[in-house]
Amino acid sequence: MNRLIGLASVLLGTLAFSTAQAHRTWLLPSSTVLSAPGEWVTVDAAVSNQLFYFNHVPLRADTLEIVAPNGAKVAPQNVSTGKFRTTFDVQLNEAGTYRIAVVNDGVMASYKVGGEQKRWRGRAQDFAKQVPANAEELRVFETTARVETFVTAGKPSELKALGRGLELVPVTHPNDLVAGEPARFKFLLDDQPARDLEVTIVAGGERYRDRPIELKTSTDAQGELEVTWPEPGMYWINASAQDRNTQIEQASERRVSYVATVEVMAP
């Protein structure tokens, strides 16, 4: 049963941006700033409309990538997927900033064989094996979706660009955000500045608010934007792009999306 829900959530997660923001995918850490190494955080991973309430479907953690300040991969602990959310624990054994991400890279194909409509979703390297050569009306697109958050034990450390897909690169560190102060972020698409990228920033706590706090802004020629946080809380940052930079020849386009959850402290 969990497997079915999981698959559904992954599909929803990666499809979210293609269906006019039907749902939002997110990670929610129990803390973003901790005093010292050795402490733990627990993280919720879910897909929902309202931020940050797990009331729809979980986001599967199969493709979780947790990277320690020194670049080492860290395994999540106590991973559990329930009806509405996945949770997992991370021990922060090193001083500095951890990057916690669910990364879904995939290919979606729809085609007909002998008049019968087929769909396939999988990894790029499996495409040739799974989609028959005689497929008709073949439509293929690739997706790259990164959903991440940042957690720091002690002093924030440098976050290096990953160089692939759409990503946020700190100018202001994502664990050093305070309400009323401007923060600056740079967006990269495959390591190049993502210019004129529309970025949506939504404050959590939507259940208790008549009007959502939603900021829409765009990156400048350097791929940078500045945001002044209207109030403290958890924020959801989202951007997406489409291009033809595909791995598979038959793919018509690549859909790239990015989500970050950041915490803004009270001054």
Binding site: V33, L34, S35, A36, G154, K155, V178, A266
Partner: protein, 169 residues
């Protein structure tokens, strides 16, 4: 709320023989709450360009495995400016939490936070955070140095009582 009072006359009467260059008075209020824990308190100086000079931090130093340090980040303004760069516990910059009462902290001219303080406008910062309680940050602008004794004070609202800083020539 913040007042500048010249207390030259008073000090002349009480005697300024033990002159320290900076004195900080902090009142930890007695609170009527079901579950009371002594507050964590941080004291520091901020300069015009956001430079920060640490003076003192009170936290639970008695817990085993230095576990009391876990909540230092709840002094969130101090944590961001100073705390996350410090290694605690450290002699002279940290101490145990204190019960409700009035405390005087004296920082002599030789104290590293003020020994090389350039003349100018500064703010004394006092932040308090309490487990199962609130958090409060008091800022008191003051001028450094002083040609005569200057006392500046402010009144906390919930986690802190009266707070004052005295600059002595």
């Amino acid at each position: 709320m913040q007042k500048t009072i010249s207390l030259t006359a008073c000090v002349l009467l009480t005697g300024a023989a033990h002159a320290a260059d900076l004195n900080v008075a902090i009142e930890v209020p007695r609170l009527s709450v079901a579950e009371y824990h002594r507050p964590y308190v941080a004291v520091w100086i901020e300069g015009p360009d956001r430079t920060a000079m640490h003076l003192d931090v009170w936290y639970d130093v008695k817990l085993k495995d230095h576990e009391g340090a876990k909540w230092l980040k709840d002094l969130r303004a101090w944590w961001r400016r100073i705390g996350r760069d410090l290694t605690l516990p450290a002699d002279g910059v940290s101490g145990a939490t204190r019960a409700p009462g009035a405390y005087e902290l004296a920082f002599p001219a030789s104290h590293p936070a003020i020994a090389n303080l350039a003349p100018g406008e500064y703010r004394l910062m006092v932040e308090a955070a309490r487990e199962v309680g609130g958090r409060e940050l008091i800022e008191i602008p003051f001028r450094w140095p002083a040609t005569e004794i200057q006392r500046y004070q402010a009144q906390g609202q919930h986690e802190l009582g009266a707070v004052a800083v005295t600059v002595k020539p």
